[in-house]
């Protein structure tokens, strides 16, 4: 598309910038990531919303009052269960496990398109801009009734892309 220089950030591009993410209280640091599976909250704007707070059985997420505050994430309380992923109306919560294997990490994300990928499928991992960045293998597709039609898909990706891959390319109908 026309090469307009766009300023960084979710408000101009629809993609939260690295700075926005790292400044957000919902974003785990490197140390926390290295302990094992953990959720990554990419919610950087003051929108009136708080279901994530109640979704977490460990009390690892707080929004408080007013509900426009961005979620604060207590990484040490999170066991990576991912209960918050399908609940977030903004689909802004992911799970990352960089300890999955020597050279592979897993990324879990909400997904609401058809056809649904199946376990074992080789798909294309995409970054926050929807660009294909790697091959990804589908490890799990969770879609129980209580997720209310939002599937949570887990894929394996090269370890260095664990904080880049946030979805997969939609499969052809």
């Amino acid at each position: 598309m026309s090469g307009v220089a766009q300023k960084d950030g979710v408000r101009t591009t629809g993609i939260p910038s690295k700075e926005e993410l790292e400044a957000s209280p919902g974003y785990p640091n490197r140390e926390a990531l290295e302990r094992g599976p953990i959720v990554v909250i990419e919610c950087v704007q003051d929108i009136p919303c708080n279901p994530c707070e109640m979704a977490c059985p460990k009390g690892a997420i707080t929004v408080g009052n007013p509900i426009t505050q961005v979620p604060v994430f207590y990484a040490e309380k999170c066991d990576g269960c991912g209960s918050c992923i399908p609940i977030c109306p903004g689909q802004a919560i992911f799970r990352v496990d960089i300890t999955y294997a020597e050279d592979k990490a897993t990324v879990s994300f909400p997904y609401e398109f058809l056809p649904m990928p199946k376990k074992g499928d080789l798909v294309q991992g995409v970054n926050r801009a929807g660009e294909g960045v790697c091959e990804a293998e589908v490890l799990r597709v969770q879609r129980p009734e209580k997720f209310n039609h939002t599937a949570v898909i887990t894929v394996t990706v090269p370890k260095d892309l664990a904080m880049e891959v946030r979805s997969i390319k939609r499969l052809k109908r």
Binding site: E112, F113, L114, M116, H149, A151
Partner: protein
Amino acid sequence: MRIEDHPILGKTERRKRITLKVDGEAVPALEGEAIAAALIASGRRVFRYTAKRRGPRGVFCALGRCTDCMMIVNGQPNVRTCVTPARDGMVIQTQVGRRGGEATHDLETESS
């Protein structure tokens, strides 16, 4: 094109299949759906031609407000197809101008 399966809404509910006659051609429809939906599903997009410029029009608001999607239904002109339920055997014609069908196209005397 119909959306047979949907990630949130699931499969389309089964409804009685009926047939509309649109400008002489048989068009399948589901009983009770908006006429406009059946036409769009069959790939038809031009519902009428305007009075002054004979410009093609189709669905614009889909709420029964804008009146762009009006057609002649069972002989009655100016029927808003986006809010009128389809019934078996309905005869539907592309509307030309304020009340005419194809046949009366050249005979109309309309103010412009």
